[in-house]
């Protein structure tokens, strides 16, 4: 704006400030739709609704992989030996301390449900591999135990547990 002399400097200043403010508000409000459109659309959100998984075909020692919201979910039917092993590990020896009890549901401790995405850089660990009878990530060598807890390698955190609940003894709902 020019700084020439005018008769009513205050009125003029107010007008310029008001116009500038209106332009700024309008510009910012216009930006919102352009940003908001990047978020998941309504059909993606609807498709991310909870899913039910029938556990009855999964035998002891086996595991299955299901997809929820595009993420692989490992559901492991752990053996008694595996459960005992992971429950005996002292918490102090874990990089990301968490009890196996806190990562499973009471009364269903043979079932481990974790999101199968390595917490290092997002690769998918292989089940039943590695030194801890759990998961092994082939990308950068992270090793998880049968509770999905990180034991060795560059990953900083345990495999995440998705929200889920037992609908019956042989059926869970994820999400």
């Amino acid at each position: 704006m020019t700084a020439s002399t005018v008769d009513h400097p205050t009125r003029r200043d107010f007008l310029f400030v008001a116009t500038g403010a209106a332009a700024a508000v309008g510009g910012l409000a216009t930006l919102w739709p352009f940003v908001s459109q990047m978020n998941p659309d309504a059909s993606t959100i609807a498709a991310g609704a909870p899913i039910e998984v029938d556990l009855s075909p999964v035998a002891e020692g086996q595991d299955i992989k299901v997809f929820w919201r595009g993420k692989p979910i490992y559901i492991s039917h752990r053996t008694k030996k595996q459960v005992d092993e992971v429950r005996q590990v002292p918490l102090s020896s874990l990089p990301d301390p968490a009890t196996d009890q806190a990562r499973t549901k009471d009364g269903h401790e043979q079932w481990l449900v974790v999101i199968g995405i390595c917490t290092h850089l997002g690769c998918i660990p292989i089940a039943h591999e590695g030194n801890y009878d759990g998961f092994f990530c082939p990308c950068h060598g992270s090793q998880y135990d049968a509770s999905g807890r990180i034991r060795q390698g560059p990953a900083p955190l345990n495999l995440a547990v998705p929200p889920y609940q037992f609908v019956s003894d042989t059926k869970i709902q994820i999400g």
Partner: protein, 689 residues
């Protein structure tokens, strides 16, 4: 862009950058210190408006491309999903579609302004020619963009326009095959059009830079058409021109928003809401309005090759304009004859545009030929001749003189313009009554709760309409784009999420394959879509006497009828756009047992007063008392038809309430903003006068 700048930034960091890359100086000399004639009127703000529109189109286009699928089987659906599911997708799509029209609207004013004020004359020939190149690129871009939604008009527009090249002698067929990437318009065509539609706007942006560069070398023309002589003739670009441009842009945005929020389909064609069908051509193939004058020229010439040459020549002739019009005086303000012929030329262009939208028959063809001759005569006869015989009025000595002397001779051209307009209007009106005499019955206009700027859907009507659809229509008609979850969306029938889930659970949805590799049925979930009554189009055809019942999701936007001149102009202001629901309602009530004399209805068809051709394969679907209403509404065919039409308007435009609500907010804002801009502009310019 006007030579080395004397600008020196005061901040040391900026000075450091300026010594290495003088970009701030470039911007300063081009858009701040750049001297601009002080007598520019508001027609000159269209340059800024066009820059804005190019920006808006590129921005919204890049975003739409993030959600669009360029595949013949998926393109139509992906556009619908953008509009229905993507956050603000309806807004972005409306901005882009209406934006194309606004872009052309602004470029036509910009071109006519150049024509009127002689902005193409020396030394601005290159500037003008660059403008013609931009215009050609815009036409190519706009055409390819219109193909992308892959509706009926997209497909057949692509077929017709690419077939123009088949007029080329010897190589025509090969060129067309090359353009298509196949033996007909198909998926390869769509793919390459998408790629080019993404590319061309950036070429346009490049030529715009050249255009602005050339402008800044020769300087702007002005309404007086005299070159600036002293400092007194000029003002600095910033703040004077910038603030004026901003005010012009603010006013233009109001006009633009009217389309985005209130009349999004006014400039489009209902046929483009029907998915592309290579087996059926729409009754009237009409290009977008901005190509209509050239389309009229194409159809006026009764020879394929000559027609194509005529059409392209109508644009190419603009390149030679600087040499065709050799008059020394630039501005038509001082050319009494040129001014009158200019307005007649405008009328000719509008007339050609009107004819381009009419069926090529009867009086329209003759009128088209007359106006085509007039169009070319303006450039090839009138302008060269005027340059030799016209005596211009005396020019002002300088721009400053022009500003001070208020010339007051504005009556003469208006008279001639009025006469020309009246003649053209009379001709058109008479032609219309001839050609439209035997059109079918027009559906009566119903009263809809959702019409007008504050219209809302009647929740009761939506719920009753859903019931009619479920119990009657859904036996034959699919509703492919509506999911059960939509029933709980805001602005819809007003069900709760739980009610929508319960509604979905009543349906059996085919899913699979399961672990055994078999398909199975399960209860519907909110995310599922309404299942179709027939597994495929062939099955639908076989069960319905050879005519496949159309999908109903978009039916109220895919059906329309002619409103005719001048009604369609009033419709723009009254926001009348309910042709679709009027038509659906009329069809449902238009069955009559007694076939009028002279109409023969084939076996297996039924007489319907409002159906084009009157013979419809659908038996009368509704009868009184057929659907039981729980809310005490009358169980009559009229009520059923009204309710289901309301419901189908919602399925076609589920975000209508949000669109109108946001539109109102935007209008309040823009009107306040334009007012503020107006007073700011007055304050700023007070210092210059």
């Amino acid at each position: 862009m006007s030579g080395p700048s004397a600008y020196q930034p005061s901040h040391p960091a900026l000075r450091w950058l300026e010594e290495r890359l003088p970009i701030i100086g470039l911007v300063h000399s081009s858009f701040v210190a750049y001297p601009t004639p002080r007598n520019l009127n508001y027609w000159w703000t269209f340059g800024a408006i066009l820059s804005l529109m190019l920006g808006v189109q590129i921005l919204t286009g890049v975003i739409l491309a993030m959600h669009y699928t360029p595949h013949a089987d998926l393109a139509f659906k992906s556009v619908e999903l953008i509009v229905r599911d993507v956050n603000y997708g309806w807004l972005l799509r409306n901005m882009h579609a209406a934006g194309a029209s606004m872009f052309f609207f602004a470029v036509y004013i910009h071109m006519l302004r150049g024509l009127y004020y002689g902005s193409y004359k020396a030394p601005r020939e290159v500037l003008w020619i660059l403008g013609v190149i931009i215009y050609l690129l815009m036409m190519a871009t706009g055409f390819m963009g219109y193909v992308l939604p892959w509706g009926q008009m997209s497909f057949w527009g692509a077929t017709v326009i690419t077939n123009l090249f088949s007029a080329v002698p010897y190589f025509g067929e090969s060129i067309v095959t090359l353009l298509w990437g196949g033996y007909s318009v198909g998926n390869p065509t769509l793919n390459r059009f998408f790629s080019l539609h993404y590319l061309l706007p950036f070429l346009i942006a490049g030529v715009v830079v050249l255009h602005v560069w050339a402008l800044h070398v020769v300087g702007q023309n002005n309404p007086a058409g005299v070159e600036p002589k002293t400092e007194k003739d000029m003002v600095a670009f910033t703040p004077y021109a910038t603030i004026k441009d901003f005010f012009g842009v603010a006013c233009f945005l109001i006009f633009y928003s009217w389309f985005i929020f209130y009349m999004p389909n006014y400039l489009g064609d209902a046929d483009n809401y029907i998915p592309a069908n290579p087996g059926v051509t729409p009754a009237h193939i009409v290009p977008e309005w901005y190509y209509l004058p050239f389309y009229a020229i194409l159809r006026s010439i009764p020879n394929k090759l000559a027609g194509v040459i005529g059409m392209f020549s109508a644009i190419i002739v603009l390149v030679f304009l600087p040499w065709l019009d050799s008059a020394k005086t630039r501005s038509s303000k001082y050319r009494p004859l040129a001014k009158q012929f200019f307005w007649m030329f405008v009328v000719v262009c509008i007339g050609l545009g009107y004819l381009g939208a009419q069926p090529p028959e009867g009086v329209y063809v003759i009128l088209g030929r007359i106006l085509t001759v007039c169009y070319f005569a303006y450039f090839l006869v009138v302008l060269p001749l005027l340059a030799r015989i016209e005596t211009p009025r005396p020019l002002p000595n300088s721009i400053a003189d022009d500003v001070l002397a208020k010339t007051g001779s504005k009556r003469a051209p208006m008279v001639s313009t009025m006469i020309a307009l009246a003649v053209a209007g009379g001709l058109l009106a008479s032609g219309m009554s001839d050609a439209r005499a035997e059109e079918g019955t027009v559906p009566p206009s119903q009263k809809w709760s959702f019409s007008g700027p504050f219209g809302k859907f009647d929740r009761g009507a939506l719920q009753r309409g859903l019931k009619v659809y479920k119990e009657v229509c859904s036996n034959c008609h699919s509703l492919n784009y509506i999911a059960f979850r939509n029933l709980a969306d805001p602005g819809g029938p007003g069900y709760s999420t739980a009610q929508a889930a319960a509604f979905a659970a009543d349906y059996k949805i085919k899913d699979g394959p399961n672990d055994q590799g078999e398909m199975f049925e399960r209860p519907g979930r909110p995310a599922d879509y309404f299942p179709a009554p027939f597994p495929n189009e062939q099955a639908a055809r076989a069960s319905n006497g050879g005519a496949a019942p159309p999908d109903l999701s978009l039916i109220t936007k895919a059906r329309s009828y002619e409103r005719g001149f001048p009604k369609f102009i009033f419709d723009f202001f009254t926001q009348f756009q309910e042709q679709g629901p009027n038509y659906v309602d009329a069809i449902l009530q238009g069955f009559e047992k007694d076939v009028p004399a002279g109409v023969s209805i084939p076996e297996g068809s039924y007489y319907n007063k409002y159906f084009p051709g009157h013979a419809i394969k659908m038996p009368p679907p509704l009868s009184d008392g057929q659907v039981t209403y729980d809310d005490g509404s009358p169980a009559t065919v009229a009520q059923y038809a009204h309710d289901v039409s309301t419901f189908l308007m919602w399925t076609a435009e589920p975000h209508m309430e949000e669109r109108k609500r946001l539109g109102f907010q935007v209008f309040v804002f823009l009107i306040i903003f334009a007012g503020l801009m107006y007073f700011t502009k007055k304050k700023v310019w007070a210092a210059a006068h």
